[in-house]
Subunit: 446 residues, 2 copies
């Protein structure tokens, strides 16, 4: 085939593809998230990436519809899922009579949004969702469990200090009602939601543009400045003496959730009440969450969610309240990688590399099989190169343990074990080798 | 929302979606496959599901093109990947200078084919691929390694006895040349490939229809009837005294691969030379594999592959020989499930279910946190129901260990541990509980 007719190998803009050392780091993060979710008894779910457009877009706004990948196949309008919540709602409605409630599920999968590609924005990205769905009702203890899942997950991801901010949308919306500002309540909530981003000055300006009067602005600022530990914040909210029913309901709910969070022993340094958190407009109806990496606030909220009164009203008459969070892994990984915070130590899962230096491969493969039977990832490097080049392969791949088997070793039934990190090497008898390397690797893991 | 305006919650035909107990079994299979692949030092890869149509279809025939999901987005012709080999070819060409060769990669992911949906045929399905790609050349030892990966994988999947059939396409095609049947060689290979399916009678009829003469048919039948252990088969092939160059090259290759397979200690009961294996027409150029579950031959080949001389000639001038296999997991799982061979014991990853019987939840959550810190998947069931109904939840979900914490237990700082499988229950002091259940679960795992 001549050069001219080659197709340029490239991927579409807005898609993330990783090199081996990055992919291994990415997969390690997925594994941590999955294990954390399973630790709380969430069941994995895997729904189709393609669904009927009618189903996926049942409740979608125009913005979502515009971004959705839509196409026809065999006469059907089909679409790629743009989140994991709509498929969950469809799944729970469809399999309602086969599921046991509360239904605790997690899903880690790719979703698709035809956004304008830009730095850190992806058209294909992983979401890692965890939700609890009740039948008819769902106790507030579940809102605390969801926060605990986020706490365990970020503790295990090891991305430094983090804080999970929690609020109840009823408090915010009740407070705005009580201010006498019902009419433009939504606009004001959107504004409050971004106070952290735009700063107090710009916030005040924009609040005035919404026609809040001086007294209203003062009350709002006073309210938003409540910033204390959870007990004091709840106290201060009580002392506002607001009698708006929605506000009081939200306050009672938050108080109950806080009680359970304390039962769950989540350190106060990792969560706090933040009265400015609103999380979008129409979706959430109670508790809302946002997770911030304290050392990298520029990343924004890396894991958010909340409670919704009725998950699946477009598909079923059953009332299905739920609460959950979502972690946008592709974006998070991209940002961490940009900040050089991704641990890219190896380009292979191989733990032990065997280097036979003679034509006689039988002993080498014998050792390889024994190591693999002990669940130790093992590779035999049989390319015709000199020892120096073979060792270079090991160091390029980030493999710590190299086993050299040459003439001398074959004669003695030994191997030469070289640690690429320390440079140490030692002779070991073949019969002792598997046991020795196994215990060395186990000690390292601990 | 009135009933009339509900959207029917359903998925498209040809897509597989599982219930929790099935999904857990499916994920366990994926985990086994992944671990087996990593045991041989294969690196995970995750490529976009959407790629440029031009790239994915560079070498596709009309049949593939017709089945491909194609659509336009922002002016680009885009497509969903229909296998994992084409994306691998594109990836290796694109990242050629960043990769270390031989490049050992595995990929487990969904692919899309708009086939006519029918029982056991899916439009979205998982492929689990493992390949080794060389730069310029790739030793035959890799063909043996690939067979070893398949052997480890199926041993660990625990689907009963299995046999990996191996052949070399050059032997078959050289033999046909030597018969003097070059002109319709392709048609004959297709026919030979299905001899197991159609039986000898139908095979003979169709062979005659291809205008093979009596002598040719006899020679072919004699050749295909060679059915012995690997050494004897190789001997018998040598004794045919065929001097065709392609045949001899194939025979030498197979002999070398067999030598390495023996070094790798793969039991002869799990692999054999089968001279009728051809695996399609144009793709493979040397070794070919097919895996059969001996107890369920009706499933056909569940894992197949082979060697190709040049992976990526449509994208690069670099010569990239490779060898690999692919396991079609969705179809395999579907078939196993139909045969009732899927182990669907639990509907949750939860190992321990805590049942508080009083309003006081603090101690229960305390225990839950301690169990989770020990990596034991734990759930607290706080729905307002009586004990009988709560126990029913545990047995529905397939949770073996239930911990009951009522008034009496709270007073004594104890718990009541009930084993749902045996029915046994015993009182344990709270301070001893975590250690005890941990060791019980560890003993069970072994």
């Amino acid at each position: 085939m001549s050069k001219n007719s080659l197709v340029v190998p490239s991927i579409l803009p807005g898609f993330m593809e990783l090199l081996p050392n990055e992919q291994l780091a990415f997969n390690a993060m997925i594994k941590t998230i999955q294990q954390s979710y399973e630790l709380f008894g969430f069941v994995p779910l895997d729904t189709p990436i393609i669904e009927r457009a009618e189903v996926l877009l049942a409740k979608a706004g125009t913005e979502t519809s515009k971004q959705t990948y839509l196409f026809k196949k065999g006469g059907d309008d089909q679409a790629l899922r743009f989140d994991l919540t709509v498929p969950l709602a469809r799944y729970v409605s469809q399999h309602f009579h086969e599921l046991v409630f509360p239904f605790r599920r997690y899903q880690i999968g790719k979703v698709y949004r035809g956004e304008k590609p830009q730095k850190g924005r992806f058209r294909e990205f992983y979401q890692c969702d965890v939700d609890i769905i009740g039948k008819g009702e769902l106790g507030l203890v579940n809102d605390a469990e969801i926060l605990a899942v986020a706490y365990f997950t970020f503790t295990r991801l090891g991305l430094g200090r983090f804080i999970i901010k929690i609020n109840n949308r009823k408090i915010l919306s009740g407070f705005i009602d009580d201010l006498g500002f019902q009419d433009r309540s939504k606009e004001l909530m959107v504004l409050i939601d971004k106070i952290d981003k735009i700063g107090e000055g710009a916030f005040l300006e924009e609040a005035q543009r919404l026609d809040l009067n001086k007294k209203q602005v003062d009350a709002l600022i006073h309210f938003l400045k409540i910033n204390a530990n959870s007990s004091d914040t709840l106290d201060k909210l009580r002392k506002l003496k607001i009698e708006n029913g929605v506000f009081l309901k939200g306050l009672n709910e938050l108080e109950e959730v806080v009680k359970y969070i304390k039962y769950l022993n989540i350190p106060e340094s990792n969560w706090k009440i933040d009265l400015s958190i609103a999380r979008g407009l129409d979706y959430y109806t109670g508790t809302v969450y946002e997770t911030i990496l304290t050392e990298y606030p520029q990343l924004g909220a890396v894991c958010s969610g909340g409670r919704y009164d009725n998950l699946a009203k477009y598909y079923t008459d059953q009332k299905l309240p739920g609460v959950g969070i979502s972690l946008g892994l592709t974006r998070l990984f991209y940002q961490l990688n940009e900040l050089n915070l991704v641990n890219k130590i190896a380009s292979t899962p191989t733990k032990v590399l065997l280097l036979p230096l003679t034509e006689s491969l039988s002993e080498t493969f014998d050792i390889a099989t024994k190591l693999r039977l002990e669940s130790i990832p093992t590779e035999v490097y049989v390319v015709q190169k000199n020892l120096g080049e073979k060792l270079k392969y090991a160091s390029k791949m980030g493999i710590e343990y190299v086993v050299i088997i040459g003439e001398k070793e074959l004669k003695e039934s030994s191997v030469l074990l070289k640690n690429m990190r320390t440079g140490n090497q030692k002779k070991i008898m073949q019969k002792d080798f598997v046991k020795l390397i196994k215990s060395e690797l186990e000690n390292k893991d601990q």
